[in-house]
C-alpha cells in the first residue's frame, strides 16, 4: 500500500499585494507585480495554492552609497552617480522586474536632500523606467515624514510599495499612502507581536490590510538568520491558521544585511555573492515573498533556485 502523506488544511490565506499600476489601472507601468496569496506553508504545493513566485527587486540609491563593498562598486561604480542610469542598468542589463529606490540621501547625516529634490527624482525615475517601484525613506523619522509624503504625491496612482512605517512612526506615511493609492511596508524589529500590532494600528487608520507588506527585519547568514526564519515561520503559521492581522506578504531586505557580513566583505567576490544568495534562499523557505537584493550574480542564482522550486 502506498504511503499517504498527512495533509494540513489551512483556514487562512496570505493576502495578495499588487505593486505597480499599468495604463488600464490608472498608472504608467508596463506590468504590475503580484506577491503573496499563499494558502500553504512555503512550497507544500499539495496543501494549498501558491499562486505567486517570490520576486526580487534590485536596490538602487539616490546618492552614491559610501559603504557598499568593492565587489558591488565594481559592478555598479560608474552608475552610482546617476540613479536613473543605475535604474536603466538594472532593468536593461539585469532584467530587473522591480526596483527598490532607497532615498538615503535625504538623511540629515548624509546629503540632507530636500523633499522636493527627492520627489523630482521619483518623478524622473518613473519616466525613465517602466517597472513597478518600491521606495524607502532614509530611516530618520522626522525627515521621512517630510520626504515620503512628497514622494507619494509625485508617484500618485503608480501603486508603489512605500516604506517604512514603524510602531512609533506610522501615521504620516499611512495617511499619504492612502491618499495617493500606494501600498505600505510595515517594519517590526524581529517581533511577531509588534508586526501584528503595527498591522492593527495601520488598519485602524483605514488602510486595508491587503495593502500592507511586512518587513519582519532579517539577519544575514551567521547574523541571526535562524531567528528571523523562526519569526517568519511562526507568523506564517498564525496567518494560515486564520489570523488576518498577520496575513501580509513578507518583504526582506536581503542585500543590505548580507553585504554587511564580514564574511561577505572580506573573503573575495564569490563569497559575498554566495552569502547574499544563501540568505535569500533560506528566507524564501521561511516564506519571503519579496526580496530586495544588490548583486546581479546573486539575483541570478536565486532566480534559478526559484525556477527549480516551481518546476513540477
Amino acid at each position: 500500500m502506498a504511503t499517504q502523506l498527512a495533509k494540513q488544511n489551512w483556514s487562512g490565506k496570505i493576502s495578495t499585494l499588487t505593486i505597480g499600476a499599468t495604463k488600464e489601472q490608472g498608472g504608467t507601468r508596463a506590468h504590475a507585480v503580484e506577491i503573496g496569496g499563499e494558502e500553504s506553508l512555503p512550497f507544500l504545493f499539495p496543501e494549498g495554492a501558491i499562486p505567486n513566485k517570490p520576486r526580487i527587486a534590485f536596490e538602487i540609491w539616490d546618492v552614491p552609497p559610501k559603504d557598499w563593498t568593492e565587489e558591488l562598486v565594481r559592478h555598479y561604480g560608474k552608475v552610482f552617480l546617476d540613479p536613473l542610469e543605475w535604474a536603466q542598468m538594472c532593468v536593461k542589463d539585469y532584467k530587473a522586474e522591480l526596483l527598490c529606490l532607497r532615498l538615503q540621501g535625504a538623511h540629515p547625516d548624509c546629503a540632507d536632500r530636500s523633499a522636493d529634490k527627492e520627489a523630482q527624482l521619483v518623478g524622473r525615475l518613473l519616466k525613465e523606467v517602466d517597472v513597478p517601484l518600491i521606495i524607502c525613506g532614509c530611516a530618520d523619522d522626522t525627515k521621512d515624514n517630510l520626504v515620503l509624503p512628497a514622494v507619494c504625491e509625485a508617484a500618485k496612482a503608480e501603486r508603489c510599495l512605500i516604506g517604512s512605517a514603524s510602531q512609533d512612526n506610522y501615521k504620516t506615511l499611512v495617511a499619504s499612502v492612502m491618499a495617493d493609492g500606494h501600498n505600505i511596508i510595515a517594519e517590526s524589529p524581529i517581533d511577531i507581536n509588534i508586526a501584528k500590532q503595527l498591522n492593527i494600528l495601520i488598519s485602524d487608520m483605514g488602510l486595508h490590510l491587503e495593502r500592507i507588506a511586512i518587513n519582519p527585519t532579517i539577519g544575514a547568514l551567521g547574523y541571526g538568520l535562524e531567528y528571523a526564519y523562526s519569526i517568519m515561520e511562526r507568523s506564517r503559521l498564525a496567518a494560515l491558521s486564520g489570523d488576518k492581522t498577520v496575513a501580509s506578504p513578507f518583504i526582506c531586505f536581503v542585500g543590505q544585511e548580507a553585504w554587511r557580513a564580514k564574511e561577505a566583505r572580506e573573503f573575495g567576490p564569490q563569497q559575498g555573492i554566495i552569502w547574499e544568495a544563501v540568505t535569500a534562499t533560506a528566507l524564501i523557505q521561511a516564506g519571503a515573498d519579496l526580496l530586495v537584493m544588490r548583486h546581479p550574480e546573486a539575483v541570478k542564482k536565486v532566480d534559478r533556485y526559484i525556477e527549480e522550486l516551481f518546476r513540477r
Binding site: 510602531q167 517581533d191 509588534i194 501584528k196 500590532q197 492593527i200 494600528l201 485602524d204
Partner: protein, 643 residues
C-alpha cells in the same frame, strides 16, 4: 563637626544636624515625611523642596529644570546643609496621609473596607459549614481554684495547670519564670480567683499572664497588613468578636524606596535594616496606640498581634535581613515564622503578648497571598477561581479546594502612583474617575474626598486610559493619535495630555499624562495580564473555565471593571465573574486572629500553594510583549471590545 539648625516651614519644626546632612534625613529626624520613591538616589525627583534661607550644596546634575533651579528648588535627598537654613516643603512633596481630617479619613476607610466586609465568612454565625470556631490566639480564662490544705498539698503551679486542663482539655502548658515568681502571692491575694491568658504557640500552650479577679471580658487583639505602600491595622475585641476600629497609613519606608527591591538594597546600607525595621514598628506602634486610645483600652489587655504582608515586609518587620530574597536562587530566611513575643520585635502590646505572622509561600509570594486565599475562600471551593492582588508586587493565585498555584507579577508601582508624572497614591485629591466625551474631548473627573485635584491614582489612570482609548486620543499602542487634539501639547520630554490645568488644581503644575506615563502603565497592566494568562495556560486551562475572579488591592475597591477590561488589565470575561474584595490580606489576618482553626488553614494553604516562577517560563516574555497593546495584540482574546 559643626552643627546647624534646619527649620522646616510651614510646619515650623526645627532640627539640629551635623554639617553635610541631607535635607531628606534632617526632615526625617524631626518626623516630617518627604516623598522619595527612589530611596534617596536623586532619580525620582519627588523630594523637591524650596530653600528660603541659608547655604546648601547640591550636585549640578539631577532632574530639575533651569526654571526650578532659579526658584531655589532643590532635591532634598541630594542637597546637604552648610549653614543654618530654612526650607519649605511644598504639598506635592509630602507624604501626608496624616493630614487628612477625621471625616476624610473615615470616608477613605469606608471606601477601603466596605467591600472586604462583605466577603467575610461570618465567624460569629455558628452552624455554617465554612466558618472557623471562635478560638482566638490568646484566650483569657477565669479560674476559681480551691485553696490548698494539709490534705491537698498540690503546688500552686500544678494546681493552676490542673484547673486549666479540667476546663479546656489542654495538656501541654508552660509558664515563664516571671509569672511563676509572682504566682504564690498573687493567688493568695486574689483569694484563688484569677484570670490566666493562654497563648497558643503552634501545638503547645503558654500561660502568658496571670491577673487577679475576672478580666476575661477584656481581651483584645490587633491584625495588621504591612503593605509595601500602605499599612492597615484593626483592633478586635476577642470577647464580642467585633472590629472596634480600622486605620490605614502610608508605609513610611517609602522614604527609603518605593518597591521591595530598592528597600532590600537600602537594608544593606549602614544601619539600613535598623532604619527600615524601626520605621515600620514605629508606624505599627503609633497606629495601635491611636486605636486603643480611641477605644479607651488598656495596652495590657491587648494580648496578641497578627501580621501579614509580603515576605520582604515581614522580614523587615522582624528585623531579619532580607538580602537573600534578592539573590539567586531567591530564598527567604523563613516562610513559616514561629509565634514570638511581640516585644522581641519591638511591638508594644502586653509585654508578654504574642506576635504571629501569616506564613508565606516563597520570596515573592508572601503571607498576604496566603491571607487573601484564606479570606476569599478559594482554597475550599469546588469552583476554579483566580485571586489577583494588584499592587506594586502583584500576586496571582489560581486554584480550588484541590490545588493552588501562585505567581508573582512585578507590576511596578505605576498603578500606585509612582514612576508616573502626576501619579499619587489614592489619598485626598487623587483623581479616581475620569470621563472624556468623544469629539468635544470634554474631561470630567471625580477626586477622593471631593478635594481639589492633586494628581491621579491607580483607578484614575485605568479610567483615564480607557477614556482616552474610547475617545481616540491615543492609539492601541498608547501613542497620541493626533497632535491637533485639544489638550495635547509637545514638551521637551515628549507629548502630554493636560487633564487639569494648574489653575484648577492643588498643585504647582498642570495635571497631565505623558506618553512615557502611558508606556509605564502599559507595562504594568501587561505584567498583570500576562502573568494571569500564563498561569492559566500553565495549568492547561482556559479563562472560560474560571468561575470567579477576585480582585484585591488597595485600589481594587474603586476599580471600574469595564475600564480595566478595556485597557486589557483584566481578561474579557463576563463582568459578573469579577468580585472586588478590597484588602483581602487584612480580612484573612483577622480570621486568623480570631480562630486557631484559621491559622491551621492558613498554614495548610501556604504549604499547599505551588510557587510558579514566571521568569523561567519560556512563554512569559512572549505573552508579555503580546499584552503590551491596548487591549491586547490578540484581539480575539477581547471579543466584547471588537467593533
Amino acid at each position: 563637626m559643626e552643627k546647624f539648625k534646619v527649620k522646616f516651614v510651614p510646619d515650623n519644626k526645627t532640627v539640629e544636624v551635623p554639617e553635610d546632612t541631607t535635607i531628606l534625613s534632617a526632615a526625617l529626624s524631626c518626623g516630617l515625611y518627604i516623598n522619595s520613591a527612589c530611596g534617596g538616589e536623586g532619580v525620582c525627583g519627588r523630594c523637591k523642596i524650596i530653600l528660603k534661607e541659608g547655604k546648601v550644596t547640591a550636585p549640578p546634575e539631577g532632574t530639575l529644570t533651569p526654571q526650578e533651579k532659579s526658584r531655589h528648588i532643590y532635591l532634598a535627598c541630594l542637597t546637604t546643609v552648610h549653614s543654618d537654613i530654612e526650607v519649605e516643603i511644598p504639598s506635592e512633596s509630602r507624604l501626608d496621609f496624616e493630614n487628612l481630617s477625621p471625616q476624610e479619613l473615615e470616608l477613605r476607610l469606608k471606601g477601603l473596607y466596605a467591600q472586604s466586609e462583605e466577603i467575610e465568612p461570618k465567624i460569629t454565625l455558628p452552624g455554617a459549614k465554612e466558618e472557623f470556631t471562635h478560638s482566638p490566639l490568646t484566650e483569657k480564662l477565669y479560674l476559681e481554684l480551691s485553696a490548698p490544705n494539709l490534705e491537698d498539698r498540690v503546688s500552686d503551679l500544678e494546681r493552676l495547670y490542673a484547673q486549666i486542663r479540667r476546663l479546656t482539655g489542654i495538656k501541654v502548658i508552660y509558664t515563664g519564670l516571671a509569672s511563676i515568681k509572682q504566682l504564690g502571692e498573687l493567688l493568695r491575694d486574689s483569694d484563688w480567683k484569677v484570670t490566666v491568658t493562654l497563648g497558643k504557640k503552634d501545638d503547645s500552650c503558654e500561660v502568658i499572664n496571670i491577673e487577679p479577679g475576672d478580666t476575661s471580658k477584656r481581651n483584645f487583639g490587633l491584625s495588621f497588613d504591612i503593605g509595601t505602600t500602605t499599612i492597615t491595622g484593626q483592633l478586635i475585641d476577642f470577647h464580642s468578636r467585633k472590629i472596634l476600629g480600622t486605620r490605614a497609613t502610608y508605609n513610611r519606608q517609602a522614604t527609603f524606596g518605593s518597591d521591595v527591591i530598592t528597600r532590600i538594597i537600602f537594608s544593606q546600607e549602614e544601619q539600613g535594616l535598623e532604619k527600615l525595621h524601626n520605621t515600620v514598628t514605629d508606624t505599627v506602634n503609633q497606629m495601635s496606640h491611636q486605636l486603643i486610645e480611641e477605644h479607651k483600652i488598656d495596652l495590657n489587655d491587648v494580648t496578641c498581634i497578627l501580621c501579614t504582608g509580603n515576605t520582604t515586609m515581614i522580614h523587615l518587620l522582624l528585623g531579619v535581613d532580607p538580602k537573600y530574597i534578592r539573590r539567586e536562587p531567591y530564598v527567604p530566611t523563613a516562610n513559616f515564622l514561629p509565634v514570638i513575643r511581640a516585644a522581641e520585635a519591638g511591638i508594644n502590646i502586653n509585654p508578654r503578648g504574642l506576635l504571629q505572622c501569616v506564613p508565606g509561600v516563597a520570596s515573592y509570594v508572601g503571607g498576604d497571598t496566603t491571607a487573601g486565599l484564606l479570606s476569599s475562600g478559594i482554597y475550599r471551593n469546588k469552583d476554579l477561581s483566580i485571586l489577583i492582588d494588584i499592587g506594586t508586587n502583584g500576586e496571582i493565585a489560581l486554584g480550588n479546594k484541590d490545588f493552588l498555584i501562585a505567581a508573582a507579577a512585578s507590576a511596578g508601582p505605576a498603578f500606585e502612583g509612582s514612576g508616573v508624572t502626576c501619579g499619587m497614591r489614592s489619598s485626598r485629591g487623587a483623581i479616581q474617575k475620569v470621563k472624556i466625551t468623544p469629539r468635544s474631548l470634554e474631561v470630567t473627573y471625580d477626586t477622593i474626598a471631593n478635594a481639589k485635584p492633586r494628581g491621579i491614582c491607580g483607578s484614575g489612570y485605568i479610567d483615564l486610559l480607557a477614556s482616552m482609548l474610547r475617545a481616540g486620543i491615543i492609539d492601541k499602542n498608547g501613542k497620541f493619535a493626533s497632535i491637533q487634539n485639544k489638550g495635547i501639547r509637545n514638551t521637551d520630554s515628549g507629548r502630554e495630555f493636560v487633564l487639569v490645568p494648574k489653575e484648577k488644581a492643588d498643585s504647582t503644575c498642570d495635571i497631565v499624562i505623558s506618553e512615557a506615563d502611558i508606556e509605564n502603565l502599559k507595562r504594568s497592566k501587561a505584567a498583570i495580564y500576562s502573568a494571569t494568562s500564563v498561569l492559566v495556560r500553565h495549568m492547561n486551562l482556559e479563562f472560560g473555565a474560571i468561575k470567579k475572579i477576585f480582585i484585591a488591592g488597595g485600589f481594587g475597591t474603586y476599580l471600574d471593571i469595564e475600564s480595566a477590561v478595556t485597557i486589557g488589565l483584566l481578561p474579557d470575561l463576563k463582568r459578573e465573574k469579577f468580585v472586588f474584595i478590597g484588602n483581602s490580606a487584612l480580612a484573612g489576618a483577622r480570621q486568623m486572629l480570631l480562630s486557631h482553626e484559621a491559622v491551621k488553614a492558613a498554614q495548610e494553604i501556604a504549604r499547599k500553594v505551588t510557587y510558579f516562577e514566571l521568569s523561567v517560563d519560556p512563554s512569559y516574555m512572549e505573552e508579555y510583549t503580546a499584552a503590551l497593546f491596548f487591549p491586547h495584540t490578540d484581539l480575539d482574546k477581547f471579543p466584547s471590545l471588537k467593533l
